[in-house]
Amino acid sequence: MQDRFIDDIYEFRGEWDVPSLCGLRVVKGEKHHTVIATELYDKNPGTSITAFVEQLAAMICRDYSLDTKRLVFIVRCPDRGSKLENYRERFDRVSFTIDGGDFADPDWSEITREEAAALVGEDGDD
């Protein structure tokens, strides 16, 4: 089934320059420029989104010409179908201190799937 939160696979150089991947949906609305970055787990050979979130957010904003003042940055960890609770789907909205093009002090707040979908203008159903 198509993953409705991924339009693109974003390639980036992660920690120590390791080639890395994440799923990406970018919605440039009037009110918000919303990014949903999705962890790809086994398909990502390199750094996780969480470990590199400041640099990654800066890169995405630069590459997609996003307005950092209107930025809503969401990280999604998809369900891996594991028996472990730790692999359930989870969405976090990440806030940063932004100084020019530099992002710092990431702070994660969990949001629901519906809230994430609403922020990108969807109903959230797969």
Binding site: D17, D42, P45, T50, P106, W108
Partner: protein
């Protein structure tokens, strides 16, 4: 050139049976050194470190997070004396940025084929701050026999019984388990060593008992079976991480000398029960590795898990508490949920609770960790269960004429010290 390679000491967990196995990382790294380098190895867990022995260049090899602070102290002291220090190894890669502040140089990645450059730079006075080969791994066929001759072998005996030697047949891991950093360290591509290289190394090891330290042997059935076929003539007895539980694999593993395997036990399912039974049916013992503190774990579920372990007759159990090592999903999750309570790396020993568990207080998880050890080993203490395992391997060794009696001259020593 005298290159001093140091393996920093760490504090063992209270109440834990002390085992000092011959380290693997340093002997693998030493095999990749240029011929002109005269390497002296110090395992600080067993040997006293002398800062005044005239080393030209110091290497610090760190495997565990609990080694890093001591590694940094050692480096600071050598650098105060004007000796250049380079760091390498698994824990260096996990803590690279912090380590850089204590180092002249940090090596990230696998050493084969890279040390000529590092040592040439050192001789030219042009050591780089970082040698970053994390995403440029060498061809695995470059991995030759480890250089075990750098070890002071008599130190790795307990009351005359020789400890297992560590050996690896592959690198990388296609799995990416929740608490594990191997995907970051060795890559997610399974990289088996060529069988002739495996056999070449096995032939150099004069120890009948091995620990195959590959992350998991259960990566490719055909390779796994080929490995076991290759091992049969060597008549080694070995323990390893997980192997597949298909009957044809287990048959070959038993013929190849499988002694016991480590098996992660996360739940009380029939899947685990049957898996353990299949190992046992093939004469292979099982040491369960049980991680406590996952988000699924409640006090009741941990108690049920311990009962289950006794019921399925695990031969040994090793309990640890979830520890959010950097570059793991556990670290990512707990960091973003603001549940990491301490970044004191000395406490990242897998026996101290350094995070906020989901369903209980950290102190309660700490108590349950102690309870798990006590309860599992209440009727049969750990040393007795280990004795039973050793007795089994001795019987098998006697049957195939590979048994080597314990060293009488070391019977009163434990890891180089007088045994109590």
């Amino acid at each position: 050139m005298k290159f001093k390679l140091i393996y920093p000491k760490w504090k063992k967990l209270e109440g834990q049976t002390e085992f000092n196995l011959p380290p693997h990382g340093p002997v693998v790294m030493a095999a990749s050194l240029p011929d002109y380098v005269d390497v002296v190895f110090v395992d600080e867990n067993l040997q006293t470190l002398d800062f005044d022995d005239g080393a030209d260049f110091v290497g610090i090899s760190m495997m565990l997070t609990v080694q890093v602070r001591r590694g940094w102290e050692i480096a600071d002291e050598y650098r105060r004396r004007g000796v250049k220090v380079i760091f390498g190894g698994i824990a260096t890669m996990l803590h690279a940025e912090e380590t850089l502040t204590h180092a002249d140089s940090v090596f990230l990645g696998e050493s084969e084929g890279r040390m000529e450059e590092v040592f040439a730079d050192f001789r030219d006075g042009a050591l780089k701050q970082v040698y970053n080969y994390l995403s440029a791994r060498p061809p695995v066929d470059l991995v030759g026999p480890a250089r075990r001759s750098i070890l002071e072998r008599d130190l790795y005996y307990h009351k005359g019984i020789r400890m297992v030697d560590l050996f690896h047949a592959s690198r990388g891991c296609r799995f990416n388990c929740y608490p594990c950093a191997v995907a970051y360290l060795g890559g997610r591509e399974f990289r088996p060593r060529p069988m002739d290289r495996v056999a070449e190394e096995l032939a150099t090891i004069d120890n009948n008992r091995l620990f195959i330290v590959d992350n998991s042997l259960a990566q490719d059935t055909a390779w796994e079976m080929e490995l076991f076929r290759e091992m049969i003539p060597f008549k080694k007895k070995w323990c390893s991480h997980t192997i597949e539980d298909k009957p044809e694999v287990l048959d070959l593993a038993a013929q190849a000398g499988a002694w016991y395997v480590y098996q992660a036990v996360f739940d009380t399912s029939d899947y685990i029960r049957q898996r353990i039974k299949r190992y046992h049916d093939h004469g292979i013992a099982v040491e369960g590795t049980i991680l406590l503190g996952l988000d699924d774990h409640t006090e009741d579920s941990i108690r049920r898990l311990i009962d289950f372990l006794l019921e399925i007759e695990l031969d040994l159990a090793e309990f640890t508490v979830l520890t959010p090592f950097p570059h793991t999903k556990a670290f990512d999750d707990l960091r973003k949920q603001k549940r990491i309570l301490s970044y004191d790396w000395d406490r990242y020993n897998a026996g101290e609770v350094v995070f906020q568990p989901r369903h209980m207080a950290p102190e309660r998880l700490q108590e349950l960790f102690s309870f798990a050890w006590e309860e599992f080993y209440r009727d049969e203490p750990q040393q007795y269960k280990m004795y039973k395992l050793i007795r089994r391997v001795v019987e098998r060794e006697k049957a195939d004429n590979t048994y080597v009696p314990r060293r009488r001259d070391l019977a009163a020593k434990t890891f180089g010290r007088t045994a109590r």
